[in-house]
Every structure is written in structure tokens, then in C-alpha cells.
């Protein structure tokens, strides 16, 4: 019974993490850059939902519909303003810029909202559902459902639309992408827009699931990076597998290992994956 509970909780967490990471994977595949501001941008989206609730009393599940396109514009602008100028330079430079940005977001959130932990109530808060005899918070279950939906839509769009083909083509071979008439810069901007826009969708939904503090950004950027690498960093299917592995290993680790050693499991898994198959990890070279 304990095992079933662990598996259910792990799968729910895993799918949520997979959607959070999917944007990072998209950005990495198309532009070759690890978005270290990913967690910070998610925190920003969560706090926007907090404001929407406080000032206009809008449920986070509703405000997500407005915050998602807003974050999409933020991602697009971010690409144009700071990533595009350094796209041909040492990858550490982009990493450092994004880390710096993560700091800026953290500082602004701290100034505006203070360091206290906050949550945003939605209509589902405080209720539970039972799945396979395991009780889960309803907000978490809803986040799971939305994540599943988001991953499906993204996967279908990437696989079957011209838009998705353009993105995958640019990720596969930049030169050839130019030669079939793809505007590579526009595709890269799209990847940033969608990749960050996803955070605008998932952030508000998670505002009552994860604890919200201004300094949460870096932690979730690292979690997403772990999911990305464990999933191989190439495909959405891999990202989902990575999310599930991280979710399950952490949940089961916390259940069965003494103390909070279970929290180590995702990182141990990461080290193991890097050692077993470093090529599956990040080569930092595009189009290979």
C-alpha cells in the first residue's frame, strides 16, 4: 500500500516536472542554451498569479490563461535582448547571463513580496481526491491533468505541424534549416517564447502545490536541469521519462530511506546517468 502511494505520488510529481522541464528542453534543443533562469521565470509566473488573486480575486487556474501568453512575450523579449547577442559566443557567457537574470528576478520578487512563504488559493484548494486508494490534494491532481494536457499538445504540435518541423529541423541542422528557407532567428525566438510561455501556464497552477518563496528559482532550475539530463535532453518523450524517474526516485526515496536522504536520489541518478552515458547528456554542440 505504501508502495502504491509512493508510485502514484511519484508519477504525479514526475509529470508535473516533465511539463516544467519541457520548455527548458525545447530551448536547449533549438538554441543550445541551458536556461538557468527557468526556475526564476516560473517563480515570476507564480507571483503574478498571486497578484491576480489579491487585486482582482481571479482564480490562478483562470489567470494562467493570461499569464501564459504574457510569459511567452517575456521569453521572446529575453531572447531578443540578451541571448541573441551572445548566441555565437562561449556557452558559459549565456549561462552566466541567465544566472544573473535569475538573481534579478529573485531580488525583484523579494523587494515586492518579501521573503515570507506564500500560496495562492484556487477553487480546488484544501480538497482531496482518491486515486487507486491514495489520497492526493486536488490542486496537485489538477496540476497533473494540466501537465498531461500541455505535454500532449506540445508533443503533437512538434511532431505534426510545420511549426514543429521547423523547430526540429533547426535543432537538427542549422545550415540546412537556412537552406530550406527557415528563418533560424525567428525559430529560436519561438522556442524561447513557447519555452517560457509554458512556465506561465504551469506556474500559476502550481502556486498552491509548491511552496512559493522568492529564492525558489535556482532550486527549480537545477531540478529541471536534472530532469533534462536524465531524460537525455533531446526529445519530449525523454523529458517525460526523466520527469517520471526524478519524481518516482525522490518520492520513493523519501518513503523508504531514513531521514531526508531520499532527496539525494535524483542527484545520484543524475551522476549515474552522466557516468553510464555521457553522450546522452549534453554535448553543448548543436546539430550533431
Amino acid at each position: 500500500m505504501l508502495l502504491v502511494a509512493g508510485i502514484v505520488q511519484g508519477v504525479v510529481l514526475g509529470v508535473i516536472l516533465a511539463l516544467v522541464t519541457s520548455g527548458m528542453t525545447l530551448i536547449y534543443r533549438v538554441t543550445g542554451i541551458i536556461n538557468f533562469a527557468h526556475g526564476g521565470l516560473m517563480a515570476l509566473a507564480m507571483y503574478l498569479a498571486y497578484d491576480a488573486r489579491r487585486y482582482w480575486n481571479v482564480d490562478p487556474l483562470v489567470s494562467a490563461l493570461a499569464i501564459a501568453p504574457l510569459m511567452g512575450v517575456v521569453g521572446w523579449a529575453l531572447y531578443q535582448a540578451v541571448i541573441r547577442p551572445v548566441r555565437r559566443q562561449h556557452h558559459l557567457l549565456a549561462v552566466q547571463i541567465l544566472l544573473g537574470l535569475s538573481f534579478v528576478i529573485e531580488a525583484l520578487l523579494l523587494m515586492r513580496y518579501g521573503a515570507d512563504m506564500r500560496t495562492v488559493e484556487s477553487v480546488f484548494s484544501g480538497r482531496f481526491v482518491t486515486v487507486l486508494g491514495v489520497g492526493i490534494e486536488l490542486t496537485r491532481a489538477v496540476a497533473f491533468g494540466i501537465s498531461l494536457l500541455g505535454l500532449t499538445v506540445l508533443g503533437v504540435a512538434l511532431k505534426w505541424s510545420d511549426w514543429g518541423r521547423r523547430l526540429r529541423a533547426t535543432a537538427a541542422d542549422e545550415l540546412a534549416a537556412y537552406l530550406v528557407g527557415i528563418s533560424v532567428i525567428r525559430v529560436e525566438a519561438w522556442a524561447w517564447g513557447i519555452g517560457v510561455g509554458i512556465l506561465g501556464l504551469v506556474g500559476p497552477v502550481l502556486a498552491d502545490v509548491f511552496k512559493m518563496t522568492p529564492d525558489m528559482g535556482l532550486k527549480y532550475a537545477i531540478v529541471a536541469l536534472v530532469v533534462l539530463i536524465i531524460g537525455g535532453g533531446r526529445t519530449m518523450a525523454g523529458t517525460i521519462a526523466g520527469g517520471l524517474l526524478v519524481g518516482l526516485s525522490e518520492t520513493l526515496g523519501l518513503l523508504y530511506l531514513p531521514g531526508s536522504y531520499g532527496g539525494l536520489m535524483p542527484y545520484a541518478l543524475l551522476a549515474a546517468v552522466l557516468v553510464i552515458n555521457p553522450r546522452a547528456a549534453i554535448a553543448m554542440v548543436r546539430g550533431r
Binding site: D162, R165, R166, R168, A169, A171, A172, D173, L175, A176, A177, Y178, L179, V180, G181, I182, S183, R234
Partner: protein, 233 residues
């Protein structure tokens, strides 16, 4: 002239590669660019397709000045390059490669029809349409690359070393394929080390030496002496 390159200069960084190169291509022509390694042949092709900006001179296409157009806009006009080393989209299926080649035809019936036409012309590709292009042999990939270029229904097809790194059997297949392409009236510009291939396909030839055009004549009048000088000087 369908494609008119007028006194173009180009280079990389501080290195000048092309000096005042002029090339004219009439509709229906098949033009060969000949010359030894680093004579500037591929650079010329890159300038024509818009991958590399010209530092001097103009490029005209269908009577319009396209010197300032990006590579993407030139593809939109029907000036399409098949790159050296094939550069198929390895993670994508053969069919997806072809669909991307036909981006300029839009999403609709036109592209579907063109795709069916390609499969008729290259039955081999129909059989492997769902395979990842990266898993094919070099010769098969070259076929995919050429078909991808043709998907755009190009007015001029630029080919950069189509036989490079292929087995003799695969080279023969490429020549057959390109003969078929020529017979449909598609204008072609070919950069190639394999002189045999050029003689079989092309009507006119330009010889480049150290970034300058030294000979411009029809292929049957190109003397062995001139060729030898072009490649071994």
C-alpha cells in the same frame, strides 16, 4: 539571364576569396563551376544562395537585384541550394525532410502533389519515407538532399559537390538522378570535383583559379589543357 552574378567579391574575416567573379546562367542551362580545392567554388555558391554576404558586386535573379536578400528569401524566390556534405535533417524522417524542402509551397494541396511527384520520381524514397534520414547510407542521403531541394520547385538548383564522399555506384545513381532533373528543364549550377560528372551533365563551364574566373566556355570546347591547368596549377 535567369541568374546573373556581376563582379562579385567575397571572403571570410581578413581573407578575400573571390575577386570580381561574374557568372551568367540562362534558363534551362546546366552550368559547372570547376577548379581546384580552395579556388573559391563553394564560396561562390554560398554568395549566390545568400549564406555569405557579397562584399562587392551584385547578384541578380529573374532581373531583380537580390544581393541584400537573406538565404530564406532567396529560397522563397526559387533559388535553392543542396549543400555540400548533404546536411539532411538526421533526426527527422525522410518525409519530414521533403516536407520542409517544400515550405515555400505552403501547407496545402500544392505541396502534397509535389511530394507525390517526388515519390514517383524517386521510388526508393517512398519505401523509406518513415525512416530517420540520419540512418540512411551516404548515397541515399544525397538522394534525400536533392529531392528536398526539388520539393521547393526551384527555378535554379545549386548543387555543392553532390558526389563528394560517395561510392562509385552511388555517384552513378546521383548522375542518373541529375540527368533526370535536367530533362525536366530545371536550371542547375553544379560545383564539383568529379569532372566526369560535369561533362555528362553540363552545357557550360566556368573555371575558377584563386578566386577569379579564368575560363568561361561551353563544356565541349573546354580543352584538356585548360582543365589540367585549372586543377593542377
Amino acid at each position: 539571364m535567369l541568374l546573373d552574378v556581376r563582379a562579385v567579391s567575397a571572403g571570410y574575416g581578413k581573407v578575400a576569396v573571390l575577386h570580381d567573379v561574374s557568372v551568367g546562367v540562362a534558363a534551362g542551362d546546366c552550368v559547372a563551376i570547376l577548379g581546384s580545392n580552395n579556388a573559391g567554388k563553394s564560396t561562390l555558391l554560398r554568395v549566390i544562395s545568400g549564406l555569405l554576404p557579397a562584399r562587392g558586386g551584385r547578384v541578380h535573379f529573374e532581373g531583380e537585384d537580390i544581393t541584400a536578400d537573406s538565404a530564406g528569401r532567396r529560397v522563397g524566390r526559387g533559388l535553392v541550394q543542396v549543400p555540400e556534405g548533404r546536411h539532411v535533417f538526421g533526426d527527422l524522417t525522410v518525409e519530414e525532410n521533403l516536407l520542409l524542402g517544400g515550405l515555400r509551397l505552403g501547407r496545402g494541396k500544392l505541396r502534397r502533389a509535389r511530394l507525390a511527384e517526388m515519390y514517383d520520381r524517386f521510388p526508393l524514397l517512398r519505401g523509406m519515407r518513415l525512416r530517420l534520414a540520419g540512418t540512411l547510407s551516404g548515397g541515399e542521403q544525397q538522394l534525400v538532399a536533392i529531392a528536398r531541394g526539388l520539393m521547393a520547385d526551384p527555378k535554379v538548383l545549386l548543387l555543392d559537390e553532390p558526389s563528394l564522399g560517395l561510392s562509385p555506384v552511388a555517384v552513378d545513381r546521383v548522375i542518373d538522378t541529375l540527368l533526370g532533373v535536367r530533362s525536366t528543364g530545371t536550371t542547375m549550377v553544379i560545383v564539383e570535383q568529379n569532372v566526369q560528372l560535369c561533362f555528362e551533365l553540363c552545357s557550360r563551364g566556368y573555371v575558377l583559379r584563386q578566386g577569379r574566373v579564368t575560363v568561361a566556355t561551353s563544356m565541349d570546347r573546354l580543352s584538356a589543357e585548360e582543365l589540367k591547368r585549372a586543377y593542377f596549377a
